[in-house]
Structure formats: C-alpha cells, structure tokens
C-alpha cells in the first residue's frame, strides 16, 4: 500500500515539475537577453516638415502682422478708397552737361566735384584692398582699380568740360549784359 501511495505521489510530483519547467526555462531565456536587444518598438513615423507647414506655424511676427493688417483694414474701411494706385509719372533725367544757366552749371560742377572726391577716396580704398588681398583676388581688384581710375578720369574730364561750358555761359551772359547796356532806353 505504501509503495502504491508513494508511486502516485511521485507521478504527481513529476507532472508538476514537468509543467513548471517550460515556464522557468522561458523566464531564464528572457533574463539572458540584454534590454537593448529586445524586440524594437517601431519608431514613430518620422514627420518631415515641409516649407508650407513651417510657414503655417505662428510666431510673434504673425501677431505683429495681424495687428498691422487689422489696423490697415480699419483704415481702409474708414476711407473707402477704391484702388489708390499712385499715378506713374516719368521724369526725364538729364546727364551732367550743357547747363542752361550759370546756376545750373555751378550745381553740376559741385555734383561732379562730389563724385570726383568720392571716387578719389574709393580708388585709394581699392589700392589698400589690393595690398591686403589674397593673391587670387588681387587680379580682380586690379581690374576694379583700372576701371575706377578710368571712371575717375572721365568724371574729371566731364567736370572740366562743365567748367569750360560755364566760362562760355559767363562770356555769353556778359555779352548779353553789355549788349543790353549799349542799347538806348526805349521811349
């Protein structure tokens, strides 16, 4: 009887152990794995922002623009102007030559003088640039200098022409004055 009982008991124990073994085996196998090598969580789909989406984000500049355009809308409603497009007007631009009066000549000469002074200063600046420039940039700067020296010479020449024209105007004016004085007063 005792033998029978112990046989039954042994069978139950073996069954119990048999059932629990896979569970422990699974547990051990999990412990062996390092956390980093576990199944990866699928990364969230990466969102690439487009220019439009970036543009849709609000910033302090938006608040500024809102304020500004609200103000503009109110002004527009108050004034009720149709299009308000300014009429284009074309003003011809005379070059610096052939002055009509002595006053014009003086203004043009003063203008040329300002240009000449500024260009003289600029030419000196380019000369210094050349001294300090990298060898590869030196050739380009030399060409700039050459061009600007030519422009300066042309401008000086223009100024001299203007001074000549001014002298002619002075002569003309003096002659006109003389002529006017020589005429007898009208009765």
């Amino acid at each position: 009887m005792k033998i029978k009982n112990s046989l039954v008991f042994s069978t139950i124990l073996a069954a119990a152990l048999g059932l629990s073994a896979p569970v422990f085996a699974q547990s051990n196998s999990q412990k062996k794995k390092s956390p980093a090598k576990q199944s990866k969580p699928g990364p969230k789909p990466h969102k690439v922002w487009t220019n439009d989406e970036v543009g849709s984000l609000r910033s302090p500049a938006d608040a500024y623009l809102d304020t500004k355009y609200r103000r503009t809308d109110e002004t527009a409603t108050a004034q009720q102007q149709p299009t308000g497009v300014k009429p284009a007007h074309h003003v011809g631009s005379p070059a610096l030559s052939n002055p009509k009066t002595l006053d014009d000549a003086d203004k043009m000469i003063a203008w040329e003088k300002r240009d000449v002074d500024a260009q003289t200063e600029y030419v000196e600046h380019v000369r210094k640039q050349i001294e300090e420039a990298h060898p590869e940039d030196r050739e380009r700067l030399k060409k700039v200098l050459q061009d600007r020296i030519q422009i300066l010479a042309d401008t000086r020449s223009e100024m001299e022409t203007l001074e000549q024209q001014k002298k002619e105007l002075q002569k003309k004016t003096a002659a006109n004055n003389k002529e006017a004085k020589g005429q007898p007063p009208s009765q």
Partner: protein
Amino acid sequence: MKSNPIGRRKESESGVALLIAIFVLMLISVVAISLMVASGGESALAGNYRSSASVYLAATAGLEEARGRMLSGNSDYFNNTVAGFIPASGSLPVGQVRYILNPGPGEALGSLLTTYPDTEYATEFGAAPLSAAVQTIASVSTVTSGGTTYYGPLFKWVRINAATEKSLKTDVNSDSILDLVTPLYYDSGHVPKPSLVVTATPPASANQALEITALAILPNGSQKTVQYVVAPLTINLNFPSALTLSGKNIAFSGANSNVYYADGTDGDGNPPAVPGCTPNPLNSLPAIGVTEPLGGTGNKDAVTAGIPRPDHYSGAGLPTPSVSDAITLNSSLQTPASLNTLVQTISQYATIITPTPSGGLLGTATDSDLPPMSATNPATVVVDGNLNLSSFVGYGLLVVTGNLAYDGNSGWKGVILVVGDGTTTFTGAGGGNQEFDGAIFVASIKDTSGNLLSQLGNVGFDISGGGGNGVYYNSCWIKRAQPTLTYTVLSFRELH
C-alpha cells in the same frame, strides 16, 4: 473470524484524500507560479520596450539639438558659442567633424568620446577623423540653475559632418563609384526633380547635405545610433536681372552721375567675397528687367528713355542700355498675393521688424533702427514702412514696404525687396562710393490705404540724384542673403 471487506477497502483507500488534496494544491501552485513568471516576462517586455523607446527618443533629441543649433536665428546657434564652429556660408569640408558632447552625471566632457567612441565614422569613411579636424561643443540640454544640475536627454554625442556617396553608401550619380571625397549637395533646382548631386562646384540652387549622427546610451546599457541627412531650406529666391521693376506703369529716372553703373554680369563691381561661393561671370543678366503686364513695350521704353547714360547699363550681351522685358519671374514674385505671402514668410524669420506701426500710417525707419550686420553676419530686415539710409552699408535680406531712400554712401550686399509702395528714391546729388551687390526687386502690391491690390500697381525708381557706384548682380550674395528657414530632413536612419 470472517474479515470485513468494506473495512478492508476503507483501509486500503485511506490517505487518498490527502494525496488528492496535495495534488490539487500542487496544481494550484504550479498555475500560480506560471502566472507569476508570465507576469514577470510581461514586465520585462514592457521594461525593454520602455528603455528602447527612451534610448530612441534620447538619440533623436540629440539630432534635433544639432538641427536647431545650426540655424543662425537660434539663440543657441553654434557660432554664438564657438566662432566658426560651422561655416556660416559655404560648405563644411569633407573630413571636418563637429561633435556636440552631452556628459551625464559623473562623466567628463573631455573624455566622453573615449568612453563612448564613435566607431560609426570609421565604418562610413574607412578611418577615424583626424584629431585636428575635430571640434567639440557642449550640449545645451543640461542646465544648471540655483546650484542644481538638470540633465537633459541621455544622448552622449552628436556628430555633424559632410555627407558623401561613400558615407551614405549610395551611388548618387550612378557612376558605379562611391565617391569618398566629394561632398553631396541637395539641389532644389535639379531637373527633372530636386535631388542630391555630387559636385565640388555646386549650382546656386544647391545647398550642402550634412550628416547628423547621434549616439544615446541609457544607464541600463540600452543604446541607439540614429542618423539624419539634412540640407538647409531657404526661400530660394532668384532674380532675372540686377534691378527688376515689376508693375503696370514704371517711372524710371536714371543716375546722372558718371560713376553710377548698373551691371547684370555676375560678380562685377567690387563686392566682398562670400566664402565658398564664386560668382560666374558667364552668368550675365540684363542690368534692368521689367515686366509688361499691359502688353507692348511701354515699360521697357519708359526705362530706356529715363537713362541719361545708356552705356552705363550693361549685361546679358544686350546693346546698352541693357534693359529687357523678356524676363521670367520666380513664382513668389509674380503677383501681389504671392509677394505678400513672401513678405509674411520672411517676416517670420526676420532678425528685426521695424518700425512699430502707429496711427495707421507707415512709419519711417533709419539706419539706427537696423540691427548690427556685417559680411560674416548678414541680417534679415523687414521695414514695414519707409527706410532712409544715410552712409549705411547693409548685408542680408531687406524688405521695405514703403519708400526706400538712400544716398551714394549707402549700399547693400544681398537682396532688397521694395514691395508695398514700390518706390525708391536716391537722396543727394552726387558723391558717395558704395554699391549694391546682389539684386534689387521693386513692385507695388498695396494701395495707399494698405490694401492688397489684385494686380501689381505702379512702380517708381528714381536714382537721378546718384552718386554711388551703382547696382551689380551677384548670385553669391543673393544666396547668402536668404535666411535658412530650417534644415530639412532628407533621410532618417536607425544605424544600431
């Protein structure tokens, strides 16, 4: 004596109940143990998932710190901390490597790359970077306040370097060679569609592609290496001429001064150099470009008639004066609506917006309202009103919604958009020796009340008072002037 069979049976079955009870108890124990073990497994799985997600997020935080700090408008811009850490213009040469270091508690900044070496670089380029080519900078994710240090995401380092075919293991130009030395550029103007290109001389529409790689390691040993390939995204403006006037009727008065020139040949004049960019003199555009929304040649004729010194306006091989009405405008420059959108976009990234609106009238800004700027530090300036410049040289992108007035000693290197009233005036009468290098675009998009027009209005450009050296087209300065809106992510990879 006769034996009792029932009693014998009872005797033989005695203890069975105990055995059954033990068996049931054991079964329950086994089930309980199984449940506990299974629960432990689930917990371990959840823990692993959590640490995997954490390390992934820590690594991407590193990527984003690098991506953000490359923008000059960011207060933590790299070059604000270490001058020249990344090229403000031009390219980061192949071989140059930049690291952001982010030591955790008890770790030293100086030994971080020794503790957590970057083995990935050698995998990509075949060898570790030369120490002379490596620069490091501290992460801004760890903050100390009130004597307490608050640690940010647990990435260890982030590397920034030029991308090549070899490093990306991608044959971009299909020549069956993985080029190790030529940097890659992202060309938004590439035909038939934007693409990476392999070139040492990138076109104006291309920007360098950079690799950003980050390593994150958690205290439990989980680690992750991730990588972006990014390229700067700009407004991508380009212009058809040195000076572009777009409107219904154009009033133009050319410069009287002999020293004033308008030149559409790329790089003419005397501009400061843009590092990493060389103008192409073969790229010659008209000195002045006009649109003809009313048809005919009215605007071209008006501009030509307004030029007192025709030989001073050259470019595109056209007879002087070089004025063309056969121009094509960038889509963002075509209509009042698109120009208005452009101005708003630029405003979002502006270094400064001035002056403050008051009383419903356009204010007037002067030199003193503008931020400090230089050839190495260009600015994006939006003047919502008029701007008067006097002996001022600016660098970058300038938007003026009112009238732009300037003298001969004022200049600008970059892009000027006069979009609003669409008028510019040269103040003074001769003198000055500054110049405009880049491009100027003028259009009228609003009426006098500030309402957006349905079609472009009239334009006035009066330089009859100048003075100064003129306007010179310069593709390098046009590109340099445009702010980087963001570094767009071209690709994302999990490496390990």
